[in-house]
């Protein structure tokens, strides 16, 4: 039997090498620590002020972060950098701005807010960011956003008055609204003949075994679990009650057993493709779904339901200017550009999400056939924002508890 060349270490060599390794291991740690950037504040750092509709917040403006001065000329020949979701900004709106000011616009995309904030903290020079109000606290406290100079944004008068003093940013110091949307239930009448909207508890239809393998819920822990709470009649969609969360966990397990839903955010293309017949959906998604329908399938089969009294999940996205951006004047002007009624309306037709423009009322949208009759429930009305429920930023311990329930569901009990 041939012996392998070069026998392995004998016992003495092995012990020697192990001793060397044990001695050098801590220095390896020190070596790596020396290579890494200095860590941020640990332990007793600034804490998070969480804004709520019933406890609005006026954010402080740091001394080293004052708004830009008045009447500054726009930066010439610059490249305005926008950080946004994919397909969430009309190319025509971009082109219009580029032509008007003779600049270039570069859009970078992200998949979700947490990924975006991580990137923003790494010191990029984006000018504009599409934020959600659940992030505003972290953005302001982390010094990532630049306060606005209102003199550059006169078009704010075109949007709903509530946005000049929203609870998440009193005095609109940092934000302008971008889109408004609701989270309801969407379905296709050819796969789901029942009128889900007429059921006593439309959310419960997702648990109906009749629709097994045809359903989906949104792949966001807060949105999906909030819907479960609403289904059970609990309106505090940011609850920290352990009993409520336990109930949500049980309901999600029951959901998995009953209809085995997909967990995704691509229902805007999966539903028109026929993969999904009934799902939790954002209002903009069902509008977008119309353009994904295959040949021979008309848009009249799509339906959307949201509580008519507005007592469901409402939401809005915002645009903010970033401190690291090199073109603050252009950034302000772009925000103003997106608040123009014609631009906003064109953006609406491109991305499917409604802007809170005063000129776009439910009546005008249906009258102009901008929104088909079968989908008129997607239109967001100002009253919804008075009665609707908001998914808010959660404090660390609570968010951990929520995410643990969600992870348990996502790992799929057999």
């Amino acid at each position: 039997m041939p012996v392998p060349i070069g026998s392995g270490p004998n016992r003495r060599q092995f012990l020697q090498r192990a001793a060397i390794l044990a001695a050098t291991a801590p220095t390896l740690g020190a070596f790596l620590a020396a290579c890494s950037k200095p860590a941020g504040t640990q332990g007793a750092g600034p804490s998070l002020t969480i804004a709520k509709p019933d406890s609005p917040v006026k954010w402080p403006i740091a001394d080293d972060n004052k708004p830009i001065g008045d009447n500054l000329p726009p930066e010439k020949g610059a490249t305005l950098k926008i950080y946004n979701y994919a397909d969430y900004l009309s190319p025509q709106a971009i082109k219009g701005f580029e032509d008007q000011y003779g600049v270039k616009i570069e859009v970078s995309t992200f998949n979700d807010g947490d990924e975006a904030i991580t990137k923003l903290r790494s010191g990029v020079d984006f000018d504009i960011y599409n934020a959600n109000y659940t992030e505003i606290s972290r953005l302001v406290t982390g010094g990532l956003v630049r306060p606005l100079n209102h003199s550059y944004i006169p078009n704010i008068t075109n949007v709903w008055p509530t946005f000049t003093n929203p609870w998440y940013d009193q005095g609109w110091q940092y934000t302008v609204p971008y889109t408004i949307y609701t989270t309801g239930i969407g379905w296709r009448t050819d796969q789901v003949p029942a009128d889900i909207g007429k059921l006593s508890n439309p959310y419960a239809s997702l648990w109906d075994p009749t629709y097994k393998d045809k359903t989906a819920i949104i792949d966001d822990f807060h949105t999906a679990m909030a819907m479960v709470l609403l289904k059970q009649g609990i309106t505090d969609v940011n609850t920290s009650s352990a009993d409520d969360l336990k109930m949500v966990g049980e309901q999600l397990t029951a959901l998995g057993k009953a209809t085995s839903p997909k967990v995704t955010i691509t229902m805007y293309s999966d539903m028109p493709a026929g993969q999904i017949g009934l799902c939790q959906m954002w209002s903009g998604d069902i509008i977008n779904a119309q353009s994904y329908l295959p040949e021979g399938v008309g848009p009249e089969i799509l339906r959307y339901w949201f509580p008519q009294d507005g007592k469901g999940l409402v939401d809005n996205d915002m645009l903010v200017t970033l401190k690291g951006g090199k073109n603050p004047v252009l950034a302000h002007l772009f925000l103003n550009h997106m608040l123009d009624p014609a631009v906003a309306k064109e953006n609406f037709s491109a991305i499917g999400y409604q802007p809170p423009q005063n000129s776009l009322t439910a009546e005008s949208l249906v009258a102009e056939s901008f929104i088909p009759e079968n989908l008129k429930n997607v239109i967001v009305k100002p009253e919804y924002f008075d009665t609707g429920y908001r998914t808010l930023e959660l404090d660390t311990a609570n968010e951990d508890a929520w995410r643990n329930v969600w992870n348990a569901f996502n790992s799929g009990g057999s």
């Binding site: 039997m1 390896l28 640990q42 991580t118 085995s260 997909k262 968010e399 992870n407 799929g412 057999s414």
Partner: protein, 300 residues
């Protein structure tokens, strides 16, 4: 004999330095980073992971959180068990498909060998994602697969292939990783000692008997290497499940890692799962190394 080899051993050590350096820099150092994150802290404001480099300050909370939940009957157990089952089935399927192909190409193809090898490498030219997306298209409710199964409308085949079917995920994994198995098998089979095989036939073994009692045992290390080469990446695969199923019912450990990594404050849990997968993969590797070191087969 060993003593006279001392000087050349030192030369080999020096020559091995780049490889050792590579291993340290691109394997051991990142592994240490993962450990520093698993046992590290979280930024209280942004809830991002803050690595702790000094082992003496390591905080095992996140690791024990995961460890206490992977036992039978616990939350994460189904996903882990499912991963083992899916990967096992997919690997066996890959082997059953790849072995005959590799055997044919290495031993029986004759002058077509070059062309066949080029064709076998062709799938690598197309990204994994594109190949899976093609299957998404075929498996849709009104896709080709359902059309063929219903014989163009004769039967009513109402199978939802893309909503949480374990069969689809296993087949997707097998389809995605078969190219990775064919090439190592081909390389190993190509080096089989032709004289040993001829000897077994000369000594009276039938074709089948020769194959079962001589060829297969000689291929064992090759098959082991090929299986490991495909099985280990499969263990971390999350993309196949995401594309072909997107349902928690077929979640694998890769999906657990993916979900935890993307959730702020849970990066440590993701790291814990990574450590679990690492431990699970190190054991077969140790077995493989022992098998090949002890190898007593004759190769040309």
């Amino acid at each position: 004999m060993p003593r006279s080899r001392e000087p050349s051993n030192r030369l080999w050590t020096v020559l091995a330095a780049p490889g050792i350096g590579w291993l340290l820099l691109f394997f051991l150092a990142p592994l240490y980073v993962v450990l520093a994150i698993v046992f590290g802290q979280r930024d209280p404001l942004f809830r991002t992971a803050v690595p702790v480099w000094n082992p003496l300050q390591w905080d095992p909370t996140q690791f024990t959180y995961v460890l206490t939940r992977i036992g039978p009957g616990e939350v994460y157990f189904p996903a882990l068990a499912r991963t083992v089952v899916y990967v096992g089935l997919a690997s066996i399927l890959c082997l059953c498909i790849a072995f005959p192909v590799a055997y044919y190409v290495s031993r029986l193809a004759g002058r077509w060998q070059g062309l066949l090898i080029a064709l076998l490498i062709a799938p690598f030219w197309i990204s994994y994602m594109m190949r899976m997306l093609a299957w998404v298209n075929l498996l849709q409710n009104d896709g080709l697969v359902n059309k063929i199964l219903s014989f163009g409308g004769l039967f009513d085949v109402n199978v939802d292939w893309l909503t949480g079917q374990p069969v689809v995920v296993v087949l997707g994994l097998a389809y995605g990783y078969v190219p990775y198995m064919v090439l190592p098998l081909y390389a190993g089979l190509d080096r089989l000692s032709q004289s040993m095989l001829e000897a077994s036939r000369d000594l009276g073994a039938s074709r089948v008997s020769s194959f079962l009692r001589v060829t297969l045992p000689m291929c064992r290390p090759t098959m082991l290497a090929a299986v490991l080469l495909t099985c280990l990446p499969m263990l971390g695969d999350y993309f196949t499940n995401d594309l072909l199923s997107a349902s928690p019912k077929t979640a694998m450990v890769g999906n657990l890692i993916n979900d935890s990594v993307q959730a702020p404050g849970q990066t440590g849990q993701a790291g814990a799962f990574v450590m679990l997968v690492l431990v699970a993969t190190v054991l077969p590797m140790i077995y493989y190394v022992r098998v090949t070191l002890r190898g007593d087969e004759v190769r040309t």
